[in-house]
Each structure stands twice: as C-alpha cells, then as structure tokens.
Symmetry: C2
Subunit: 334 residues, 2 copies
C-alpha cells in the first residue's frame, strides 16, 4: 500500500493556526497488513518508552515474574512511565525489597517526579529526587528482577551487552520482524540502549501483542498478561492527569496505550487485533497525544464523548484561560 500524506496536528491561538506538527503513523494487524498509514512508515525511529510493554515480555518469559510472584500492578509498573507519586515510588521500593535489592541498585538516574504536586512535596521535604522518582523505575525494577532470577550480575544491567539488554533486543527484533544487529543505536533517557527500527516494525511488534495467537505459548501468555495488567491499572502506567491514564480510564479494557519521549506513541488493541505506532517528526508530546486520540477514535475504541479534551487539547494562558487548542487538521482521515 502506498504511503499516504503525513498527519498534521495544528496548534491554534485565537483566529489562526500558530504551529503545526507533522507525523507518520501506521495501524497494523497481526498478519502484518496495514489497514491505515500516514506518511513515511519505513522511517527509522527509536521507540523509546512507547515499547515498555514489549520490554516487559522478558520479565515474564524468563519465569522471573512467577518466581517473585509479581502482581499485575507490578507488571503495569514495569510497563510504565509513571508520575513518581508516592503510590508509584512506594510500590517500586517494596517490589525491589522483595527481590533483595533497593533504590541504590537502580541505574536509571534521577529526575523530579513528573507529577507536579509530588515534585513540590519533595522540595518542601528538602529531598532531592532519587532514582525511584524516575518515571522508568518500575521498568528498571523489572530488569533487576530478571537479572536476579537468571543469576546475572545486577550492576551494569543498563549497558549494551548485558544479558538483560541482549534479551530485550532479541525480543524486539523478533516481535517487529526487524534485524537489529546493525541498527543505529543510542542511549535512552534512562541509560539503556535504544535501537533505530522502522515505524512499521514497531507497529508489527505492537500488533503481535494485540493478536498474540501466532506466538509461542509462553510469549502469548506473557503478552496477554501485560496488556491485561496495563488496562487494569491505568493509574500506574502514567498517573493523574496524564494522557495514557486518562485514555485507558475513558475506555476500560479497550486498549493499552503508551507514550514515549520525542513524540513516539504505541497502542495495543486486543479486541481488533491491531497495533498502532506513531512518531511526530519534531518529537512533540502534545501532538503525539492528540494524534493517538484521533486514531483510537477513528478505530472506534474511544468515542467522541470519551475522548473530549484528548481530541482537542486546550492551550491555556498564564491566567488559566483557554486561548487555543491542539487538534488534528480538518479532513485528516478523509
């Protein structure tokens, strides 16, 4: 199928469009068919945090999740870019303790909680943010848990060549049908390797999560558990006010959706057996969210009413007045 025009997301202010974002996106089924695509879907992208659900496969497939009796909440946290509220950090700390580890073993680096009130509470308490507050701390707890279970060193688990990272690379290549051996590589925000892969391969991997019938028994079960855990705990996958949480809460069980840095987004639609991958050319989160809402809406899994401010996100001024919107260009899906 020929690639269609890229998507355009508009940012309006008053009478005119002030800024424009362009995106490529692809909807794929488990057989690799592409019912919808926009822009150049063969372009290489770093899938960043959008493919955390795929990274969680290793935690389950190795038997680590079963051995340490991980709850669905913990599976959701492993697949999360969480807000760093106490609900998130306490859960990750308690999980690490059960594995015989602690915050000191996390190699993800620190940043202030994404949740503004949680960030302010830390400042008021006179505390610097720690690795537990890093939005990736649940994913890293998963990496450490896998390393423990496999009897691998925990120190250096973020480095290329460590068995934890090699497993992730292999799984991603298999699921996406992409050879990552010679893929361009970089370092993610949390210190682990990232691999450049075609946007269509990212969609293929997500489609296989949505329709895992063609996968081996272990991976099939793991994929189903991850999607179920994410849709059961949207609050843990992101947090209050965040797109992923709001979208999954709006349409319970209909899909798992996961954003990543630099405008990549992933969705897994089990009921339709579809995966969705998108990338905003310029990396803007505001555009990625609106584009994902629009695609989910067009696929019928997020109604107009459910989507509301997700489809047309308000632009506010300092006084809190709505002075514009972020929205898809008219006729985008014509």
């Amino acid at each position: 199928m020929a690639a269609r025009q890229p998507l355009t997301v508009e940012v309006t202010r008053g009478d005119m469009v002030e800024s424009r974002h362009r995106a490529a996106a692809v909807v794929m089924d488990g057989a690799g068919k592409t019912p919808h695509s926009w822009g150049d879907v063969g372009r290489l992208v770093y899938p960043r945090s959008a493919i955390k659900p795929l990274q969680t496969l290793a935690l389950i497939e190795t038997g680590a999740a079963e051995h340490f009796r991980l709850s669905d909440a913990e599976i959701a946290l492993a697949s999360a870019s969480h807000n760093g509220t106490p609900a998130h950090t306490v859960a990750v700390a308690s999980w690490l303790a059960r594995v015989g580890l602690s915050e000191r073993d996390l190699e993800c680096g620190a940043h202030p909680p994404m949740d503004e009130e949680a960030a302010r509470a830390l400042v008021r308490a006179g505390c610097a943010p720690g690795p537990l507050h890093n939005n990736c701390s649940g994913k890293h707890a998963g990496f450490l848990t896998t390393a423990r279970h496999m009897g691998e060193p925990t120190a250096g688990y973020v480095k290329a060549g460590h068995p934890v990272q090699e497993r992730l690379k292999e799984i991603l290549g298999q699921m996406g049908g992409a050879d990552l051996a010679r893929a361009p590589t970089g370092i993610d925000g949390c210190g682990i390797p990232v691999y450049g892969m075609p946007l269509s391969a990212m969609a293929r991997a997500l489609a296989r999560m949505a329709d895992p019938a063609g996968l081996g028994e272990k991976r099939r079960a793991a994929a189903r558990r991850i999607v179920a855990a994410m849709t059961a705990h949207p609050d843990l996958v992101a947090g209050p006010g965040r797109f992923d949480t709001l979208a999954m809460q709006a349409a319970p069980g209909a899909f798992a959706v996961k954003g990543g840095a630099e405008g990549v987004y992933a969705a897994i639609l089990p009921s339709l057996g579809l995966g969705v991958a998108l990338k905003i050319d310029d990396g803007a989160k505001r555009a990625a969210e609106v584009a994902m809402a629009a695609i989910l809406n067009s696929l019928g899994v997020l109604s107009d009413k459910q989507a509301l401010e997700l489809l047309e996100a308000p632009v506010l001024n300092a006084a809190g007045s709505k002075v514009g919107v972020v929205r898809m260009e008219a006729g985008w899906n014509a």
Copy 2:
C-alpha cells in the same frame, strides 16, 4: 528574491537523527532588502514575546520612561522574558512602587519562576507564584507605567481596545509596514492581544530597530535606548542559563536577541543594520535557539568559539550524560 528551502534543525541521539524541526527565517535590512531568507517568509506568525523590544517603544515615546526616570535596567526588564529570580522580581516590585502601583495591578497571571532554583525556593517558603514571577512582569510594569503617565485607567490595560494595547498595535504596524486592522488575533500567554503578521514584516520591524536612521527623532532615540539597555543587561532580559542571556553575554554589544513562545525569535544587529525573525513550524524552543545561534554565527556577530553549546546544544539523559545534540542540518547555509 525567491524563498529558499526551509531550515531544518536536527535532534540526534547516538547514531541517528531522532527528530527534525523545520523553520522559516529572514534577515532584513533597514531598507527592506532581504540578504537571506529560508522557507515561506510571507507566512503569518504571532510574534509573541520576541517583539517585546518593539513594545517598549511606547514606554519611551510617550515620555513615561523619562517622567518616572526609568533606568536602563528597567528598560531591559520591560523588554524581557525574565527568569523570575529575586533579582528580577524585586526590581519590578520596586519600579511599580515608584509609579504608585503594586503586584496587585499586574494582569499577566502567574506561573512559577522559569529559574528552577527560584521556583524551588518559593515552594520551600510555602509561597504560591504571583504575577511578579511571570516572565512578562517587567513588560506589564511598562504598560502600567505608560497608562499612569497618560492618565489612562490601569485596570483592564491588557484588553484589546485599551489605549495601551492600541498604541502597541499601531507601533507594530508602522514598524513592520503591515496593516494589522484586519489581522487575525489571539491572546498571548500573559493575556494581551497578539496579531498575526507576516514573518517578513516582523523582520522589517526588527531591522528598523537595528537601523533607526529612517525613523522620526523620538522613535529613533527610543529604539537606540532599548537596544543599548538590552545589550547592557543581558541578565535581566532572560536569566542564568537562558539562551538570550548567554548569547548576548558571549558577544557584548553586538546584538540584542529575544525569544518568544512557540518558536519565534528576534534579533537586532545595530552594527550591521539588520533584523532577523524566525519561526519554528512546530513551536519548539530548542530548535529556535539553535537556528538563531546559527544565523548570528553566519552573519559574523557570534563566533564559533562564542557560540559553542548554543550552536550544538547537548541532549542529556537523566543521569546527566550527553546522548545527542540539537544542531542545524549539514549544509544549511550552502
């Protein structure tokens, strides 16, 4: 001159370009000639905070600045998007007091100080941010000072139709050579009206600030004072770590540079009699800064050595390691 290709700013991570920003930009002289342009410079843009130096003209031309004996530091603050540190807020508060007004008269709304340490200090002190912390509080102090001097009501000075805003609109139209009577309008982040104008008209207005010889005597003197005040006080125009401050400190007196929201940027080069206006299509600040640094560098007012991290801004991960850069696409100025 035919419009050239748009500019492209690349964001790399490891081996590949992860995101791309596109921009239109124009360099113009006082006679309206365009030695350089990229992309569609006839497009309408909201010039946002990038034209604060032009808005300051009214403060001087009305005689308000002289009447209230405003210092060059205050002229710089009127033209600033400041960081909200005590150095900025105390200066604005003291200025307002001298005019017989206070923070309560500011109608710009509140946001946390742009300076992270100042923002944390406020949280530690248990204080909510106020209008003084708004990056536009100096500009609004200028508006209020003008209204006081002219005997106009101070309440409602942000609204379309108030004499303060009508003067700004007239000056901007005159300087840009644009009829703003039917221009698309919107509301800026600080509550005042904004007018859609061609990017080339924005550049024209900046070129006239750089080469004010063709202006009337009062405006010429006002333009020169504003540019001198900004270049003398780069710390007040933005603040520690901010692009405008760093660039002006790197090349003292060579130019005034001023960013605005949604990726607009302005520069005034008195020694060359040139104005520069640019707009990143998607509104990204990181791209606008690098593109402006590259243009200033290519015009010879910011050397490679002075520019350094401004020309190639580092992308850091949570642990603080450099994992990529923001830079112009190779051959952009060939």
